[in-house]
């Protein structure tokens, strides 16, 4: 599917960018899951015009229908990779679909990657990993656990079946596309619903404990939350992220790659809705103009 503007991320930044882009009559597609926005489930205290604490999920839902009413196609799927070639950009979705566009708005927020459970920090590098594709080779022939319910976890579970002796995939809810879940299962990953509460081991990981008391023996634990990270997507598009994973933009929300714009928490602090939508408006308008050859 071919568009003028592809917005990656369905938080306030991406939704606002999509609204501005679509209202400028650019054919606009919006990717990502609003339910994964930092704002989902949060009480927004200080946003203009709301009169006080406002339900973040409700604002997101209204914003999404506003974007669709403006003519944007919203696809509630994660991008699993992106690429740039010959002045156009494309993204592969977890559903297998390929999307291409003349301009991209990166609005993926701040990736949450750690679980914050006991043992996680202590055993990082001693069995705990946040990058299955980096570290798979170190876990040949040993049992591993993959944690997370979204597309990155599904891909990691599938990948690890090619290395580990046994792959247990633990999620406290599955949000990954059914196609990816099926692929991981068919490859041999055993999916179980559960919430990890502790990682144990001394010299290296020995087991993962779940909230229901189950203790799963494992030598490796891959923590893979959400979709492909902002930093990885930026690198896919030829942008070198800052050491803190943020993406640098100028006042027009332009990144170092022509045609790629970024807005919201992914561009740095303060992490606030007002800043996200402000940058979203700029990025969406400039991306629409860029896609029509009007420069930016």
């Amino acid at each position: 599917m071919d568009f003028d503007v592809m917005v990656i991320g369905s938080g306030p930044a991406g939704i606002q960018a999509a609204i501005h882009s679509a209202r400028r009559k650019a054919r606009t597609v919006l990717l990502g899951k609003a339910g994964n926005s930092a704002m989902a489930g949060a009480k927004i205290e200080n946003y203009f015009g709301t009169g006080g604490p406002e339900d973040g999920s409700a604002l997101l839902a209204k914003g999404l229908s506003q974007a669709e009413a403006a003519g944007c196609s919203a696809i509630g799927k994660n991008a699993v990779s992106a690429s740039a070639a010959g002045g156009s950009f494309s993204a592969s979705l977890e559903s297998g679909a390929e999307i291409s566009a003349r301009a991209v708005v990166l609005a993926t927020g701040v990736s949450r990657n750690s679980l914050g459970i006991p043992g996680e920090k202590e055993l990082f590098g001693k069995g705990v990993s946040y990058c299955a594709s980096c570290d798979c080779n170190f876990y040949k022939g040993v049992p591993v656990v993959v944690i997370g319910g979204d597309s990155e976890a599904a891909l990691a579970a599938e990948l690890m079946t090619g290395y580990a002796s046994e792959v247990r995939w633990i999620a406290d809810g599955v949000a990954a596309d059914p196609i990816l879940v099926e692929r991981a299962r068919r490859a041999g990953a055993a999916l179980a619903v559960g919430r990890p509460v502790r990682i144990s081991g001394s010299a290296g990981v020995e087991s993962v404990a779940l909230a229901d008391g189950t203790e799963i023996p494992a030598r490796g634990v891959f923590i893979e939350l959400g979709g492909r990270s902002s930093a990885d997507l930026a690198m896919d598009l030829g942008i070198m992220p800052e050491p803190d994973d943020s993406v640098k933009v100028d006042g027009g929300c332009r990144t170092s790659v022509a045609g790629v714009f970024a807005c919201g928490d992914v561009t740095g602090r303060p992490w606030q809705v007002a800043r996200a939508v402000g940058q979203g408006a700029v990025a969406g308008s400039n991306a629409a103009d860029y896609s029509k050859g009007a420069g930016s």
């Binding site: 590098g125 980096c134 570290d135 290296g204 490796g220 050491p243």
Partner: protein
Amino acid sequence: MVLELTDETFDAFVRDNPVAIIDCWAPWCGPCMRMGPIIEEVAHTLAGKAGVAKLNVDENRNTSLKYSIRAIPTILVFKDAVLVDTLVGLRQKEDIIESAL
């Protein structure tokens, strides 16, 4: 400009440099690609004070096994041939320099 070590040259490098900083990496690893330029800067800043090198863990399994490397990037810091610090994951230039001083 940062030297690439192998299983064969690793020990000599650690022995010959009073302070040795070795970035263990692999070509398919995104965070390792980001570490590359940072390590170059560390080498530049510490020129004459520390030996800075890289080790491709994919091609040099023995060394990775010996130091129990299970995640990349990992930076090994040696002083007088003794391992004094292991930094796992993407690190800032300042962190690496601090651990070597």
